[in-house]
Symmetry: D2
Subunit: 342 residues, 4 copies
């Protein structure tokens, strides 16, 4: 059997990562690849690491036959996604990797993204794509909204703790260290090797990063009250990886137990023994997320640390995991690749 | 169905890379893992990136039941390999990743490795493991000697040219740029991040690198006369990758044609269109080797550049490819993982 | 005129950094260099980047004529320092770069360093070497104890805030990102390029890092009450730099004003305009520390970020700044080197 | 006393490097800084690592008072330089860091740069800025043309050998490894951290790199006959450094002697003992060039390796060294900064 998929926005890193993962997926075939400015080029010219694959050339979206595929991955820039997805045939399932359908509240969307949503009806049907927590709904969904990569990392560390009521909801700080591929293939001075290598720094500090919209939405939903975290992302001289250091007030053993229990049956979420700490080197290129807990010397405080690969578990791996569910394929298909170390 | 294997010397990078590749191999099961100093530890403690796998704990070699497996990967240090392999049950197939069985000539072995060979009879039965050129013999072999990673890279660039007689055999220079994982997990000052990052340099210059023994043996064998190349390896601040820039005298179009023709049907060897040049970023974590050819402005000269991942195609991927052949499995099984970029 | 100095423990990174800085210092001459295991070697053999300098060969400490120099920099390992310094001629001034004399309280020393102090009398005379806050005492001191590099970074961010009473003393979190040269030239697996590049992680989490001893001592002293911070250091794939992200409760404008006012006349401490954030790329190789403040979206919370070079302002640059004061030389002599970017 | 200078094109890496070096120069004062698109901004906003310096704001060139300075450093893009320099007051000395005045032959200029020279008269008066070989002429010059950074590295390795007649002039190969800052602050995909880190490759292969124009000009001039070398540059994941591995035919001892003799009195050119090899880590941030020679196992062949920092000795350090000569200041003023390691 098998299913056919197309990838819109295939010339970015998340598009390339989808192709990489699907390359050894047992049941998916790539039928179409779009990239506006690079239409007409072979994928192997834009991403020579994929040259061994037999892939369709890049095309403009309007030249793809999207009605004939089972599912579309939409890796387009924020805001572009909405207008494209609302015109897709309604029998085609969609996994969106942009930020366009992550926030259910239209006002929150406008606050964080600076303009009104252009497909509000569609947004109400979208399921938030954090697989482990929306599994049943995702399996039934037509449209799944991939989460922010930082947002995913912080939620893996915190959701079970909020759910279990083992931490103080007013005292949560997420200090996050993100590798540079999360910024995409954009041409900015601070993403140049000569600037970033040996240079690291905080950005979007003070509560201005858009992924806070997701934290606010999800954590408040779980808690049944408003929960607002403090969040400082940092850009680190590495290509892949997110490490979230989460400061909480609560009993470390209860915290560890809540995580271990919540993720006991999860194939990709690995809770380390109490006191062991994850490293980005141990999840690189994979769909795994490692989580560690340590008690602080200050009574009643603990640190939870989560590590995942922003391009895999943080975006394209998550997207594929969701697509598997939506298509009725085994959830882990194509995703059991072991991390690449060193 | 399926076959069982054990890995000796599993606490080094090539051992870990074997486990990574076998993790998604459809027909191999790991029965035993050895590591002398780390015996008793779970593999996931030594290599936390493998913690999601259900693997046997590390043991001392003498505690493994090696008679019950179909094939042993031997990733032990040079010189140790010979004494271990000569004591393995003769019905067990062996892929050796050390340098111990690469050189057929006992005198050459002693010259390059500084002491007499301790298993000379066994050495005569070993097949040199450059898969694409010894495929039939490897399929019949009991013992296959994995090649040096630098030696493999240079040979992929040069063998078809020597075979086709399109280059001057007395004017071959290999300038090679190797990433640091090729040096293994050894604790040396020049392998520290603080020393290597931002610092690159030549080593073993002047014709003293041991992989020259392999070049001499193989190139002379193909040419039917003595061929000695000039070879300077450099250590580059990167984790994975080898880029060999090979300077030859000959006609670039004939050189390109010789490579393209020789590798036309090869699943892992990709000859780029004339004038295109490979990069290590495009083969990272994969079993692919990219090859490019460019004519020089000086008439009658050309540059051939080959890029591969030292841990995959340069050692553990090659070892698995050979094991597949030896066990009668499809040659590419477990090896079609797409490169990891970025 | 001019003064003569010797450096004990010159084969480590801090020793080499001292030589680098003194190389263009107008008034200091290096008379002796010690390195136990490398005694007899020229400094240029151990550190080829210093080969252009006319330096004495490395010797064993006992072979140096320490009575004839004006000042000794002691860059020996922790615990070794105490026994060496107590035997130095009393007319020789000493700047110690180890942890041996940082903690005034003998019990605290034993708690953090695991054994009793062997030179308790001497310890009582040592001045804590955070120049800007102990300037007058340092100028009069015979023995100055260089601070921990992490400890210096955190203190630059926090001391004026505690002094000014503008933050909640019970809610201070320091999330610190340290480059690898801070770990010294020690041969450990996690410091290898192949492990650290692309791999970052927390260490000594939960309040176990020894620099907490310094935070506790100094912050409590300023506050006149016990102050205990939460502190998580991370190891980042970079060679030089420390970035401390400090979470505090207080009014951002008061916090910024307190820093700006405290450091107004300081040559090396640069407070950025409100909302601007420092990066390690902008202080590399220099004695400068950049500090930024940003208000959080959560009322009453702010983030203070400090960046400095661990080898310069964090250790050897600080040591030279203190030596200048102790010898009556201009405080900035030899230290106005601009940061190296890119 | 002292002299005043202006820097045109101060928003690029070479402009910033000039400011860094002049920051501790005893006799130069920066009077003006130009940057077209960033005119009006403080230098510390464009390069925050220079924020501690008291510098003029960036201005448009036409707004600078260039008649009142002693010397202008022109760090403008290629082709722009010529039109600007021909309009400078004739009493102002000029050090040009672009490629505009490097090639004396107008036809060669047009060949390598693709258009006719727009200031041919001026070009005839320019002195080629490889200090050690044009020292007397530079001291008398009004206009000095800074060399290409790759061109400088190759020439330091080869000029004395050609001069001394100890190598075969028809068999010279330069395999060069360049760090990324040599490409400037330009926004190109292959200069992004995510692409370059862990990815290295050849570029401008086959004899198409423009610095070949300089090699051809200078080597032919020394030899008194046409000399054409083979040259392959590679882009390496590092910020600073050039390592040139030069393959020559000749006697290694004669080669070493020729270099050692030629550079015996040079303050910045360090010839290592026979067999020792340089590393970019040992010249970072400095004006030094390290050179090593090793004999090959193949009789009559040798390898010469030269390492320097592309931004310092390869461009801005060289420019300052030349400016010192032109102004009658000590040649090494401001340039004795020790390399930054690690």
């Amino acid at each position: 059997m098998g299913y056919s998929v197309s990838i819109l926005g295939a010339s970015g890193y998340t598009g390339a990562e989808l192709v990489r993962l699907i390359a050894t997926h047992p049941e998916l075939t790539i039928k179409g690849l779009s990239a506006d400015r690079k239409a007409g080029q072979p994928m192997g010219a834009v991403f020579p690491h994929l040259r061994h694959l037999d892939l369709p050339d890049l095309q403009k979206i309007e030249d793809l036959d999207l009605a004939s595929v089972d599912l579309v991955f939409c890796a387009l820039p924020h805001a572009t996604s909405q207008s494209v997805i609302k015109n897709l045939p309604s029998h085609v399932k969609v996994v969106d990797l942009s930020a366009d359908f992550r926030l259910r509240d239209l006002a929150a969307y406008e606050t964080w993204y600076g303009k009104p949503h252009s497909a509000p009806d569609l947004q109400q049907t979208a399921i938030y794509g954090l697989t482990e927590f929306y599994r049943e709904q995702i399996a039934q969904a037509r449209l799944v909204a991939g989460t922010g990569c930082n947002a995913a990392t912080g939620q893996y560390a915190l959701r079970p703790l909020i759910q279990a009521g083992v931490i103080d909801l007013d005292e949560i700080i997420i200090d996050l260290k993100a590798a540079v591929s999360g910024a995409g293939r954009s041409l900015k001075e601070n993403l140049l090797h000569a600037e970033l290598s040996e240079g690291y720094h905080a950005y979007a500090a003070g509560g201005t990063h858009r992924h806070l919209g997701e934290f606010d939405q999800e954590f408040s939903l779980i808690a049944g009250r408003e929960v607002k975290v403090q969040f400082t992302p940092h850009l680190i001289p590495a290509n892949r990886g997110i490490l979230a250091t989460v400061y909480v007030k609560g009993a470390a053993d209860q915290i560890h137990a809540a995580l271990a229990s919540a993720y006991e049956a999860e194939p990709f979420l690995q809770v380390l023994p109490m006191g062991e700490l994850p490293s980005t080197r141990h999840i690189r290129g994979s769909n795994f997320c490692h989580l560690g807990v340590v008690a602080d010397r200050l009574p009643g405080r603990a640190v939870v640390i989560a590590a995942l690969d922003n391009l895999t578990k943080g975006s394209s791996g998550q997207a594929l995991q969701n697509a598997n569910l939506m298509l009725g394929i085994e959830e882990t298909a194509g995703l059991m690749l072991a991390p690449v170390f060193p």
